[in-house]
């Protein structure tokens, strides 16, 4: 697979398909998809609903087994949730544990690593500080706003010091202002922690804004439609980056790829951006 010169990719998706048997027959969620994600890359995945983007992410997480093909993490085939990989789920209110304090939610995330108590306590404080919630350890999730809860979910993912962080539409449930803050947070964390990040979203602006590379999936059946490098530099700013003509060109390109079937008929104006 490797041509010798390049290192083993962080994530190597090799000919992966996923099909479900439903009452009305076999449904293909994702067909014959191959993609290599290098260590330290921030890759976002966009596509219309039903394109299999969440399915792909769940297979990367080892929570779902591919019907065909293989996904390798650092060269090792994934056959269950692997160490060194963390997931931030779509809905914080359904993924955090409300019966525990924030501290315990985080501490238990590292339970499988069997760390000494002091190290766990140190990491809890470090991760909470990293997401801007240094004083939240003793709160319960339901005592916090949605944006704060999703920060806790991100802090929980950081607890295992992941090489790879998978995020499944993590900001779909928060308001626009909070969303912008959280986008800047993950961009910063990706650089600070040096983790490889795969970020699934249905928001095209967001996909371009946060990533080094955008994977566009198409639906019916789900497949990889385009792989677009994002050359906006490592520093992102909600105002300046979005004024950058390159940002506008990229979002327009991605927009047309995602919306193509409808865009031609309904909104030809947007293509001229």
């Amino acid at each position: 697979m490797n041509d010798g010169a390049t290192a083993v990719p962080a994530l190597d998706v090799a000919g992966v398909s996923k099909a479900y048997d439903t009452a009305s027959g076999r449904r293909i969620a994702l067909s014959e998809t191959s993609v290599r994600i290098e260590a330290g890359e921030f890759v976002s995945v966009v596509g219309p609903s039903g394109c299999g983007k969440s399915t792909l992410l769940m297979m990367m997480a080892g929570l779902l087994a591919p019907s065909e093909g293989e996904i390798r993490l650092d060269g090792r085939p994934i056959d269950g949730p692997p160490p060194g990989l963390a997931v931030v789920f779509q809905d914080y209110s359904r993924s955090l544990f409300p019966w525990m304090s924030v501290r315990r939610n985080l501490a238990l995330a590292a339970a499988s690593d069997k760390l000494p108590k002091e190290e766990v306590a140190r990491r809890v404080q470090h991760c909470l500080t990293a997401v801007g919630l240094p004083d939240a350890a003793d709160l319960r999730p339901y005592q916090m706003s949605g944006g704060m809860q999703q920060r806790v979910a991100i802090a929980r993912a950081l607890m295992v010091q992941p090489q790879v962080m998978l995020m499944d539409e993590p900001f779909a449930a928060v308001d626009a202002q909070t969303r912008a803050d959280l986008e800047d947070l993950v961009v910063r964390l990706g650089q600070e922690f040096g983790a490889t990040i795969v970020f699934v979203t249905h928001d095209i602006d967001e996909a371009v804004y946060v990533a080094d590379r955008v994977l566009v999936l198409a639906a019916g059946p789900g497949r990889l439609a385009a792989d677009i490098p994002v050359d906006l530099g490592s520093r992102r700013d909600q105002v300046e980056t979005k004024l950058d003509p390159e940002f506008a060109r990229l979002r327009s390109e991605v927009f047309q790829l995602v919306m193509r079937p409808r865009a031609i008929v309904d909104v030809p104006v947007s293509a001229s951006a």
Partner: protein
Amino acid sequence: MSTAPAGPATTEGRIARLGYPVAGVASVVAVWALASGLGLVAPEALPGPLAVLAAIPQLLGDGEFLPELGDTLWTWLVSLVLTTVVAVPVGLAVGSVPAAQRATMVAVNAFRSVPSSALIPIGILIFGLGITMKVALAVYAIAWPILISTLYGVASTEPMRIDAGRSMRWPWWRRQVFVVLPSALPQIATGIRIAASVALVVVVSTELLGASTGAGVVLVSYQQGLRPDVVYAGVLLLAAMGAIVYALLAGLERRLFTWVPHV
């Protein structure tokens, strides 16, 4: 009740919380007083509220009722604890295996449809007239609601939370202890609270229909002595016991399960 954490602390809130229930009880008592005062029902069938109230000290002071009430409450407690200790772990184990859960549901619903009061004669034949029979019948009556609420509690566990546990590479037992059990606990507690009411009804029923000890036995003897006022006084006391335990359990649930939105 004013110590309850839920509800606004305003005067208006307090009136709404206490006023309506008090008004409800007061109207029932008023209808009761009117019915017996106007002679709409025979005094042998339903004495007035004042007569029943006056009979309470007499019942409590007769030297017999209180120890027998103690026997009833003990039987009640033993049945509830015994059933909980057995049915909850069974429910958790069965609930975590989908096939076993489906198989169990059918059987449980069949057993549940047999009214336990219909089993009192059989219970007496097998276990005699003592506490064993009373406990056995109460356990039979409440095992099913507790088991079912446990199964539903397990089934209601949010799949995303189980996935979160899996992605953190938690072994099966850790997912059960930290995800499934806490998810199921509120429903299990509701099952136990409802079972507590049912168990009291069944224990007193066995005492009215043949058991040799318990508050119900004393009430039967007052009935045969043609003292309906004392019988009603006893019924009132037993109802109060049931209501107090129900309220205590409901309050405990609110304190323990702070993450569950309460209605």
